[in-house]
Every structure is written in C-alpha cells, then in structure tokens.
Amino acid sequence: MFLINCPFCGERDQSEFSSGGEAHIVRPKQPTELSDDEWAEYLFMRKNIKGIQFERWNHVHGCRKWFNVVRDTSNDKILSVYKMGEKPPVNYK
C-alpha cells in the first residue's frame, strides 16, 4: 500500500488506482503479419522485474485517466510519474 501522485489530481491512496501492468508494450502495427511467437510475446510474456519497473496506472476512482509510473517493485517506492505519450525518464534503466 502506498500513495501515487496522479499527474492530474495529486497524491492519492493506491486503492483509488488500478494497475495496468508493464508499460511501453507497443501494440502491433500489423496484427495480421504477426507470427504465433510474436503474439505470445505481445500478449503474455512480461519482464516482471524485481527492481525498477515502468508501468501503467489508471486513476479509476478519480479522474479516470491513464499515466505511467516508475516504481521499484522490491520496496514499492515510486521514483517518477509521467503522462501517457511522454518519453520515459532516462535516469532509470
């Protein structure tokens, strides 16, 4: 349990948000061209990182907007929050 600093509403309890999982998984541009392996990679395979992870969150019980978060999954500390479409911060890799 932690606080998330929604870029639109400010700091709120995590229970107001829903997690959208790993961020920056690009939707296939040409779905019909994809092989089974590529589909599996897109749909199912996840980095599931222990450490610094880039992820999507939705402020579902608030402004209902999506945004990105950089969080350390080993201690739940949030390192950065940025809007959809913005470039991920480069100092966390």
Partner: protein, 417 residues
C-alpha cells in the same frame, strides 16, 4: 531409514528428555558439481528432489535455497488441498497430487497432519450456481468426488454460515469435495527435506542463485553466493521469483508476481470443522489444529516483491467474512503476512522444459500451489529425469502460450485457489 519415527522412538526419546533426536536433514557445503540442481527449497522443490532420488535413481542432487527451507510460500499459505478443477488436464494434475497426499505421512514417515475435512465452495449468484454445478459434473466425469449442496444443506454442513436471504450476497448453495482438506504446511517441507536428505540430496540453505552460466543453447552451471556450481540440469522452482531466475538465462515468462496475504486469529475452541471458500465475495476460512481461524485474503493488483500486501485487501476480506459468519465479529486477528505468488494468464501452472537445454521451470502456481506439492514434485522430477513431460503435465508446457492451448482455470481458481 536410520532414524525412523514411531511411537517407540517417541517413548525412547521421552525417557532421555528429548535430547538425543538426530538432526532431520544435513547442512552440507555445496560440492563442485551435481547431476541436477533444484533452485528453490520450498515444498515443490524439495518434493522434486525427493522423487528424483526415489523414483529416478539420481543421487547427486542439490537443492539451493536463498533463505531457509519452507520459509517462502510453503510456510505462508492457507494449507488448503483440493482437486475439484474444471478441465481434464487440471483434474488429472491436482487429483494425482491429492492421491499422493492421502498416503504422504506414511510415505515420508513424517506426520504432515493431512486432514480430509472437506472443502466447500459457495455460490452467491445465479451464474455462480451454474458454474459450480457445471464444475461438479465435470469433476464427477473425471472421477473426482463432488456434490452440489442447496442452501439448507450448506447450513447443515456448516451451521455457523449466515444463510439468510437478506444478506448482500446470499448463499444460494455450494459444492463440496469431501476428500479435500488441509495439511500442516511446515511439516510437508520438513518431511520432504528429511526424506531427500536421507537419500543423499544436499540441501543447501542461505545460498542464493546470482546467475546462470550458458554455453550456447545449454546450461553449464549456476553462479551462487557460495560460488560457482557445475551442472547440466537445472530445475527452477522459485515461485514468485521465477521471472528473476528466468531473466538470468535471458528468458521471459508469462508471469506476474504479486503479494498474496493471509491472516490468523487468536486461537479459540473448535467452531468450524471444514474449509469454506467463497470466490464471489472473496472470503475463505478454516481452523487450524491450534484453534486459530486461518483466513485467506486476495492479491494486490500490481507487481510487487515486498511480501507485505495492502491493508485494504485485508479489510475487504474481513468484511465478507463478517457478513457470512457474524459469530466471528469479536474475534481478534493475531498475525498477517504476505507471500509473492507468480500468476499465469490462464491461472494454471507451468511444469515444462524450455528452449534452453537442461533448464526446466516449475512455476506459475499463482495463489494455489500448496495443494499440488506432492504431484508437482513427482511430475517435475519425471520431466527433469526423462527430459520429457509426464502425460499428466504435458498440457502445462510453456509452449501453450504460443499455441493458444491454454488451460483456463479462472473459474475453479479465480482469486481463491
């Protein structure tokens, strides 16, 4: 067995104030090389090592555990054992495990306190009723015992349940598997550790894996906190940390690791002599032999490795418990804890070879791996020893996420496994 446990050994040791019991398993330093290394000293890992030594005649085996054995999810779950899954593949897998449970104390000469007190799953809406009835039929076609109970029969089987039609999610019936029940989780790890150690398996605690050495498409050994150990076969049974180990080999798995919580109350006299689970309101409860209520809560919605879990999840579970069991309203909770569970998209496990030769994974058990411990170990040992899956775990391969042949057990597993 050099130190067989029996009533006679108990009396004999009582006469010497219990000061002469032998150590149950050894504490060796790692050798330079093993035929098979199991990564993860939980119930599944220890069971794998046990069956590798027992049934496949392999002797040079090590189990590496980064903490102490049984200190992960094996010691953190709510000890529910059942096999009433929907699909044939799952029914085969989980009932194989249940059959092994039925004789496990004798097999290991270690009392795992397996208690077939029955598991009842409640239905709270019409769709639950349809789904659970369908599952009952599917179970019976697979020769797994299952009965449908109407509301009165639910009340009769477990009188403290509030079956009033006025509650928010009224009880419309339930299914019962009488062969299901609970076991003592620590004893399972200890029993397998003792049995494996007896057959020469090296159980190496406080030894964390730091890297996997590969030579092209095959494994050559493991970098650990106790140095490099050579091996041609690695079986990874690391539960919540499976992806971390997979990343070391350059593999990605279809897993997300999330905290799952449980809690126990203060001990009270016997009040509930079965296990009752309710997926719809997310409440499940049983009573331990010490008298504590054992309550399982849900997972957090986000990836985390913190072994804590959020307070609001516990609050929601307890709300549901109080609605269903008003008698518990003044109980005090003693302890709460979390474990990291590795969840697969289809809520079914992976017991599989990988495209790296000599690297095997047993993971994805999510919120319900404990019940499968003996079966999982047995089938994973078969897979490692023969480099081929057993027919009971063939469907649980890693390739199903490519072929699309998923084993969708969300209905039978959902949040409560």
């Amino acid at each position: 067995m050099k130190n067989k446990y029996s009533v006679f050994s108990l009396i004999k040791n009582a006469l010497s104030q219990h000061e002469n019991w032998q150590q149950a398993w050894g504490n060796p330093e790692p050798k330079k090389e093993y035929d098979v290394i199991i990564v993860g000293g939980g119930g599944h890992g220890l069971a794998t090592a046990y069956y590798l030594a027992k049934k496949h005649n392999l002797k040079n085996i090590a189990v590496l555990e980064k903490g102490w054995i049984g200190g992960g999810n094996t010691g953190r779950n709510t000890t529910i054992i059942r096999s009433n899954y929907l699909w044939d593949a799952s029914a085969g897998l989980y009932d194989h495990a249940l059959k092994l449970w039925e004789n496990l104390s004798q097999e290991l000469n270690y009392n795992v306190m397996f208690s077939q007190r029955g598991v009842m799953n409640l239905a709270h809406n019409l769709q639950d009723v349809r789904d659970l009835k369908r599952r009952t039929h599917a179970n019976r076609l697979n020769r797994i015992d299952a009965v449908w109970l109407n509301t009165e029969e639910v009340k009769k089987f477990c009188p403290i349940i509030n079956t009033s039609p006025d509650i928010r999610y009224p009880v419309l019936g339930g299914t019962l598997q009488r062969r299901a029940g609970t076991a003592r989780h620590d004893a399972v790890a200890w029993g397998y550790a003792r049995g494996a150690s007896e057959m020469g398996v090296d159980i190496i605690q406080n030894c964390e894996v730091k890297g996997i050495k590969r030579n092209g498409d095959r494994v050559e050994g493991l970098e650990t906190t106790k140095g490099f150990i050579k091996t041609n076969k690695i079986g990874v049974v690391a539960a919540g940390h499976s992806s971390v180990i997979a990343n070391m080999a350059g593999l990605k798995l279809p897993l997300e690791s999330k905290p799952l919580q449980a809690l126990v109350s203060e001990p009270v006299k016997p009040i509930i002599d079965t296990v009752v689970m309710s997926n719809a309101v997310h409440a499940y409860v049983s009573q331990s032999d010490k008298g504590e209520l054992v309550i399982g809560a849900g997972t957090d919605s986000y990836v985390s490795y913190t072994q804590r879990g959020s307070h609001n999840i516990v609050e929601e579970t307890l709300k549901a418990i109080l609605e269903l069991y008003p008698i518990f309203s003044r109980m005090k909770m003693l302890r709460q804890w979390g474990g990291i569970v590795d969840i697969c998209p289809d809520a079914s496990p992976i017991i599989s070879k990988t495209n790296i030769k000599g690297l095997y994974f047993n993971c994805g058990w999510g919120t319900g791996g404990f019940k499968a411990t003996p079966g999982s170990g047995d089938l994973f040992a078969h897979t490692i020893a023969n480099d081929e899956p057993h027919k009971l775990n063939a469907a649980f391969n890693l390739n199903r996420f490519v072929s699309g042949d998923l084993v969708d057990e969300h209905g039978a597993a959902a949040v409560a496994h």
